[in-house]
Amino acid sequence: MSRDILVWVEQFEREAPAASWEAVGVARQIADEGGGGVIACVLGGDGLADLAEEAVAYGADRVLWAADPTLADFRVEPYTTVLQQLVREHEPGTILMAATFRGREIGPALAVRLETGCVADCTELHFQNGELMATRPIYAGKLLSRCVIPERRPQVFTTRVRAFPKPEPDVSRQGEIAELLPSVTEDEIAVKVTGFKDTAGGVSLADAGVIVSGGRGVAGPDGYEPLRELAQLLNGAVGASRAAVDAGWIPYEHQVGQTGKTVSPDLYIACGISGAIQHLAGMRTSTVIVAVNKDPEAPIFKIADYGIVADLFDAVPALRDALKEKLE
């Protein structure tokens, strides 16, 4: 095993999510501190050359890309097989990827095939006595756990989305880019992708820098309109509490919390959300939290940085107008 770090950079329609660049940034830092190089791997159907160059700009020393019809859609089997092939050829000591839906599936699948450990959803990663020590939230973020993979190599870590900074791309960086011939054929793959439905609707919650979230206080599907306007102005996404999702006012994909998404935006604006512990579980690590609620006793004010005690149907439009004024 070498000290090299393999990072899988995921893509959708030839674009990588910010979370993958965050993972490359973490790999770069580990390599600079502990030695070894950063090998990025990009898999897909075709047209990956630009992405490979981007990976260099974000910090990779080498980029190996494989374009093949079997890799056009994300699937666990062929993706894991190609990554395993890469591990055999390059013997990295550490493997990193973003803890997205895809990464959370590939990380453990690869780890089992390699009979090694996988630490999921790391929010911190640093050297301690020469070993990589990870920190990850457990019990819905009520506790934190340090995790280490003491013996087995390679060791696998997935990095929590938005927990690490996205590096500044440097287009003058030089790196080696090579094509890889994947060793999979379609008849070996059991799972077939037969369709795709776009339900995210614009900015995805996980990547959003700003989230405007609404709970039971929005009082119906139409109540989300002012929130959407505010979100749009901030180039953000719309979130929801479980109460609103269960009422059928907004699809599950928007739910934030213990049984929804865990998000960590720079700014989280909670409107008409009481702040139940299961909701806080999904957003407590946001950088700045703003709460708008009619009830001054609402528990959301206990973790918010700023609060307005008012009817959200007055406050949210006022906020939108005040923002428009400032941004102009």
Binding site: E105, P137, K142, L143
Partner: protein, 265 residues
Amino acid sequence: MHIVVCTKYTPDSEAKMSVDEEGNISWGDSPLIINPWDEYSVEEALRLRDEHGGTVTVLSMGPDVALEALKHAVAMGADEAVRVWDEACAGSDTLATSYVLAKAVEKMGDVDLVLCGKSAIDAQTWQTGVALATRLGWPSLMYAINLVELDREQRSITVERLLEEGRQVVEAPLPAVLGTTKGINEPRYTSFIGIRKAAQMEYPLWTLEDIGADREKVGPQGSGVRWPEVFEPPAREAEAEIIEAETIEEEARILVDRILAEKVI
């Protein structure tokens, strides 16, 4: 159809978690319950059984308290329940846990479909389902939010699964491992008859020998990951600054200034 549902017991999601000086985790007097994510799997399994016939077996690796999860699933309507445990299993990570669960599924022999929850609300790794599928060499269909079709003739299953950008529609042959998520169904409550049945039922305990598991592959020696320290995160500082002014417009302007000063937009 033989459908297996993997369940874990966890503290209630309301539990106030704490860590003592020795590093022992405590959840106060909060009850231990079935992992909330696993209720979706139990519900989906019951619906499939009612439509296609067959048996639903719930499976848990864990000490005595794991019975709470099994009992809840039986009270919802599951037919059989199996617990696997040996002191040697304590300290298993998902590499080791998936090995034990795979051995138990293999022992059952006739399994068509295994269901797992998206994640267990304690360690919340989201790993066990896909790790189990990989162990068994079966297709992994995680984060399924809609079961489109199970075709018994063709022995195939079609689901919509979540990705960041939308829902991927995937089809796979059986046997397979399905990971459920909220939105796939609305789990039923336990019934009186179910609760009675759960109280009277036998819960067989399978040992490592029963499932033919290699002791070297369970517990810490079978695991890749160690967790030397668990601690409470620093609390978010005190109460919110409540913005107060004559009018809501003025409050909004002050708030915008505060937000701009934070440099988050």
